[in-house]
Amino acid sequence: MSASAPSSGLFDCRDAYVRAVEELAIADDRIVAVVNDSVGSSKLGKFRDRFPHRLVNVGIAEQNMVGIGAGLANGGKIPFVSGASCFLTARAMEQIKVDCAYSNSNVKLCGISSGVAYGELGATHHSIEDVAWLRAIDNLTVIVPSDPWETAAAIKAAAEMDGPVFIRISRMPVPQIARAEGASFAIGKAEVLRVGNDLAIIANGTLLHQAVAAAQDLAAEGISARVVNMATVSPLDAEAIAACAATGAIVTAEEGLASGGLGGAVAELCARHHPVPMRMLGFPGFLPTGSAAWLMDRFGLNANGIAAAARELVGR
């Protein structure tokens, strides 16, 4: 399955994000949105029209945006601070560390158009380091939702939680993942999408549906893959990873750096407690220019790439 495959059943997670923030704002007047001239790219136009006094647009100033978010939280608000993930995280890293995480401020950071969504714009606009950077910061919850349902659920869970949260919101078209009736989302709790005992595939974000597709392909070849959605990268669900390690091999897949992010987090835990052979799929570093779909395929971040890594690991 190619990341570029067009389909009528694909969604932009920003739509689910703004719907969730609007629903929260209707019910709770503490909800405010803070943006860096990114009303359009964050799709917050309707929010602004509906709640003009609760949309704080600081202009192009990310350090100020995050500091103001922490101040709004001090003043009793629940701010959703939203901007392109590349700028929000890299430019305002010290504000995220000090004003949000270290100060334990109730700020919800939304990294929009994360990963390689801005493929053609080049490495300045790619945000493939964000998860690696942010998971190194103590007291900061990091969530990478996979589809519209999970995006909305993560936004609502973040609002309910008292403390700083980063939510990575893709604009890459993704399908809605098929889930059992009554499925629920909880911060810090991984989701088992498929059981299997030859190996485990741990993925999140835009790679999750590719992991599911890879497991289907592998099943046809007689390889039984467990598929786990590790939407919360920090804090990590150690129990779920132990169960993955029990299969004997782990492939991780993420729309981010191959080291330091989800794969790095899983590898650290496995190295300490359950060493197993691993393959960590992600990007190697600064990337060439190309569409998001082209970059994903070029670096094997699709079902074929995941399946190939799985075969190699189990020796088939």
Binding site: H53, G59, Q63, I68, G71, N74, G75, N104
Partner: protein, 295 residues
Amino acid sequence: MGTPQQYPATGDAALDIGGKAQRARHVGERANWMRRRLLGMIVAAGQGHPGGDLSATDIVAALYFDILRFDPTAPLAPSRDRFILSKGHCTGALYTALAGAGFFPEADLDTYLQPGSRLNGHPNRTYLPGVETNTGPLGHGLPVGVGIAVAGQIDNADYRVFVLTGDGELQEGSMWEAAMFAGHRGLGNLTVIVDRNRLQQGARTEDTNSLEPLGGKWASFGWQVVEVDGHDHAALLAAFDDACAPRNQPRVIIANTIKGKGVSFMENQAGWHHGVPNPEQYQQALAELEAEIHA
């Protein structure tokens, strides 16, 4: 200056029965106590930032012992006035004020910088009551203060926000991002005090990356600008009283100060940015400060 405005008294301000002179005398007494106490803390800890502590002491004393409205037993009460120490290294001034104002026992000051103490080298709100936001890296306090003021503006709340910044700190770009936005929003509930001691860690501000014309910079960002002697308690109180009057612009009080103020051998010496007096110097400093009480 406009007409000084009286505010409902809380805490030490309740002592204000004799008007401006008595208020100024009271602030002066507390500032003198803060100076002696913070020097003792630095000597005991074997480290600290005495120069900046002493330049900021009178400003912090005026705020905590007269101007700010708070209840130290309810440090997170939504209606409280907020004070942010953007120059987060000057904890000697902040901690003595917080202890003096009743946020925590005065005896805790003796744990300053000791292993495991709540009294960090830079303030931490998660374990020290009265601290609004963690500071330390320069350039953080003003954006947070602007955010609190925006929250107050959205809610039409009564509380006021005061941010104390160093002058060297104004070389950080984030301060001007925040200043620009505060001017744009017309944040009349926000007051910045610049501790204008003209010295940064290594040298004079004007020799490093000059700030002047400082008032003109703030004015061009949409701020009301007031300049005072940052060690004149009556002048500081008048400036704060005036800053508390209704307005639709943020205000900056440029407080001209002396780094190391109150200890003759520390005054205007960049070398006392960090530094610990030896026993002899400490005794001399205490003697000078005690002489001031009886002056």
